[in-house]
C-alpha cells in the first residue's frame, strides 16, 4: 500500500482524500457568492483562468453550518465529473502514506461521516476517515437521502 492521501481536519476530525483526486492546494483569494444555492456551495472563485466551485466540506457533510472562509484560506482543489472544485476545510495537514485498506468504523461514525466516508484508514499521521469525493460534492441533501 503506497497510495498517498491528503490529511486534513474537518469539523475537528481527521479526514483524508486520495491524492490522485486532489489537483493542488491553493490559497483562495476572491470569492463570488452564488445566490440561491445550497449553503455548502460557498460560491465561485478563479484559479489560473479556470472557474472553481467553492465547497464548504464540513457543511457538505452536514457537520457544521457553512462559514465564509477568510481571505487566503487554503483549499484543496479537486476535479470531479468535468468540474473543478475548491474544498474549504478546517486545516490542511499533510500528505501521508495510506497504510491500510479502508475498514468499517467500529460503531457509527455519525450520519454525515457514515455516508461520505469509505472507511477508516491508518496513516503515518494517525487514523483518518477516507472521504468519497462524489458524495461529498453532492451535499448534505444527497447524504441524507
Amino acid at each position: 500500500m503506497n497510495d498517498l492521501v491528503l490529511i486534513f481536519t474537518l469539523g475537528g476530525r481527521r479526514a483524508a482524500l486520495r491524492t490522485t483526486e486532489v489537483h493542488s492546494v491553493v490559497e483562495l483569494d476572491s470569492l463570488i457568492t452564488v445566490p440561491q444555492t445550497p449553503d455548502f456551495v460557498l460560491g465561485l472563485s478563479a484559479l489560473r483562468s479556470i472557474t472553481l466551485t467553492v465547497i464548504d466540506a464540513a457543511a457538505a457533510l452536514g457537520l457544521a453550518p457553512a462559514v465564509r472562509p477568510a481571505a487566503g484560506a487554503r483549499a484543496a482543489i479537486v476535479d470531479h465529473a468535468g468540474h473543478r472544485y475548491a474544498l474549504v476545510v478546517d486545516e490542511i495537514d499533510d500528505v501521508a502514506e495510506q497504510l491500510s485498506e479502508p475498514t468499517a468504523v467500529p460503531g457509527e461514525a455519525g450520519p454525515g461521516w457514515q455516508r461520505a466516508s469509505e472507511g477508516l484508514i491508518e496513516t503515518a499521521r494517525g487514523p483518518a476517515l477516507l472521504l468519497a469525493l462524489e458524495v461529498l460534492l453532492s451535499g448534505p441533501a444527497a447524504i441524507a437521502a
Binding site: S30, V34, T37, V41, S45, A46, L137
Partner: protein, 422 residues
C-alpha cells in the same frame, strides 16, 4: 438516461421528462449557449455582477422613464410599457435578496423568451456589453435553475451567466413546455368562445342549414301562409299590421298553412326571412369560407361539424330592405247577416290578409263576398266573389265559387291583392 443527463448537465443543459399514463412522454432537452462566445450584457444587482445573454434582451428602460407605469397586483409588480402590461421581476429578489424592491429606481431589462413571453427584469444598473466565453457550472449550482454558466471577466473574477428562462420559470411566468402548450390551448378555446358571434341556425325552405347573426334577428313569427304574397314583383309578407319584404321564399315551396319567418332588422329597416325550422343558437366559428360570388350567402361555416350557409345580411338588406309600410290591408266586405260568412268564412279571409267589413262600412271595399243567402246591397267598387253552397252552380263558371273551394277562394283573393299591389 443517466448518462445522457450527466452529459447534458455537464455542458450546462437540463433534461426534463414528464410522462402521463396513456398519453405519452415529453422529453425536453434544453441546452444553454455554453462553451461558446455569446454577446452578453453585464448587470449589477445587490452589489454583485451578473451576465445575461443579449439575444434575450428586447429593450432596456429606466424605471423613471416617463412612458412606463408601474402597478402592483398583490405582491406582484407589473409594468406597462407602450400599452403592454408585463410582469416585472426584481433580479435581487429572485436571487434571495431582502432589500425592498423599488422598481422606479431600477433599470428594467425587457426580456423576450423563446416562446414569445415578455417580462421585465429589474436590476440596479447595466454595466457593459461584452462577448463572454461561457463555461458550465457545477451541478450543485445548476440545480438552482437560475444560472446557465459562468465566465471570467477581465479582472479574473468569475461572473455568473443568468438563465433568464429559468428565472422566468422560477417566478411562474412560464411553466414547463408542456404546461405552456396546454394552457395556450385553453386560452385559445376560451378566446374563441368569448369572441364567437352568436348566430341562429335554422333550416331554410330548401332544406339547407343556414345561419344568421343573432344580433339581426328581431323576432320569430308564425304567420299564415296565405299572408305571404309571392305574386308581386318582390315577395312580401303581412305580419301583424305591416308588410315586410320577404326573403328566403324563392328557396322552396311554402308550407301549406303556417309559415315561420324571422324578422331581421338593421336598425332602420326590417325584412322577413321565411324558413322551415329553427335548429339552435350557436357560436359562429372564426373561419368563414367565403362564397365565390356575392349573393344571399356570405359564406359557409362549419357548425357542429356540418356546413351551414351564413346569410349575407348586407346583401339581403340591399336587395330587400325597404321601409316597412304600414299595411293598408285590403278590405273585404262580408254580409253581416250571414252566420256562415261571419263565423266560418271571416277567419279565412282575415288570414289571407284582408280586413273584414260589413254592409255598414261606408267606404269602398276592395272585394265583396256574396253568398247565396245574402248579397251585399252595396256593390259599388271592388270585385265581387260569389260563393255558392251548391257545387254544381259554382262549376258553371262565372265568378261563382263553391263555398268550400278553399284553394280557389284563396287563389282569387291573392290574385286580387297582387293585382292591386302591382
Amino acid at each position: 438516461m443517466d448518462v445522457v443527463r450527466a452529459n447534458i448537465e455537464r455542458v450546462g443543459g437540463s433534461i426534463q421528462v414528464s410522462s402521463t399514463p396513456g398519453q405519452g412522454t415529453r422529453i425536453m432537452l434544453s441546452l444553454p449557449l455554453t462553451l461558446s462566445i455569446i454577446p452578453s450584457l453585464t448587470v449589477q444587482s445587490g452589489g454583485q455582477l451578473f451576465a445575461m445573454p443579449r439575444s434575450y434582451v428586447d429593450e432596456i428602460v429606466h424605471g423613471r422613464a416617463g412612458h412606463i407605469e408601474f402597478a402592483r397586483a398583490g405582491d406582484a409588480v407589473l409594468v406597462t410599457v407602450r400599452g403592454q402590461r408585463i410582469a416585472c421581476l426584481s433580479l435581487a429578489a429572485m436571487l434571495g435578496g431582502t432589500e425592498k424592491f423599488v422598481p422606479e429606481a431600477s433599470t428594467l431589462v425587457l426580456i423576450r423568451l423563446a416562446g414569445g413571453d415578455l417580462f421585465a427584469l429589474a436590476c440596479d444598473r447595466i454595466l457593459d456589453h461584452e462577448e463572454l466565453v461561457i463555461k458550465p457550472l457545477a451541478p450543485a449550482i445548476m440545480a438552482t435553475g437560475l444560472y446557465a454558466g459562468s465566465t471570467l471577466l477581465d479582472d479574473g473574477n468569475p461572473v455568473l451567466m443568468l438563465d433568464v428562462a429559468g428565472i422566468a420559470r422560477k417566478a411562474r411566468l412560464i411553466g414547463d413546455v408542456q404546461g405552456r402548450v396546454r394552457s395556450g390551448g385553453d386560452d385559445d378555446s376560451r378566446e374563441a368562445e368569448r369572441k364567437g358571434t352568436p348566430a341562429m341556425l335554422f333550416i331554410g325552405l330548401d332544406g339547407r342549414r343556414k345561419a344568421v347573426r343573432l344580433s339581426l334577428v328581431r323576432r320569430i313569427e308564425r304567420i299564415a301562409a296565405s299572408s305571404i304574397d309571392l305574386g308581386g314583383e318582390r315577395p312580401q309578407a303581412v305580419i301583424g299590421e305591416a308588410i315586410f319584404a320577404l326573403a328566403g321564399a324563392d328557396a322552396g315551396p311554402l308550407p301549406a298553412d303556417q309559415a315561420s319567418v324571422l324578422r331581421l332588422g338593421d336598425g332602420t329597416h326590417e325584412i322577413a326571412y321565411v324558413f322551415d325550422t329553427i335548429v339552435d343558437t350557436v357560436d359562429l366559428p372564426e373561419d368563414i369560407v367565403p362564397a365565390p360570388r356575392g349573393g344571399p350567402v356570405e359564406g359557409t361555416v362549419l357548425i357542429g361539424g356540418e356546413p351551414a350557409d351564413l346569410l349575407d345580411a348586407h346583401w339581403l338588406f340591399a336587395a330587400f330592405a325597404s321601409p316597412v309600410r304600414a299595411a293598408r290591408r285590403p278590405l273585404c266586405r262580408l254580409p253581416a247577416g250571414d252566420p256562415w260568412a261571419q263565423s266560418i268564412l271571416a277567419p279565412l279571409i282575415e288570414n289571407a290578409g284582408y280586413a273584414i267589413v260589413d254592409e255598414n262600412f261606408s267606404g269602398e271595399a276592395d272585394v265583396a263576398i256574396a253568398t247565396d243567402e245574402a248579397r251585399p246591397d252595396t256593390l259599388a267598387g271592388g270585385t265581387v266573389i260569389t260563393l255558392s253552397a251548391d257545387p254544381d252552380s259554382a262549376a258553371q263558371g262565372g265568378d261563382k265559387l263553391y263555398r268550400y273551394d278553399r284553394a280557389g277562394l284563396l287563389a282569387r283573393l291573392t290574385a286580387l291583392r297582387a293585382g292591386r299591389a302591382a
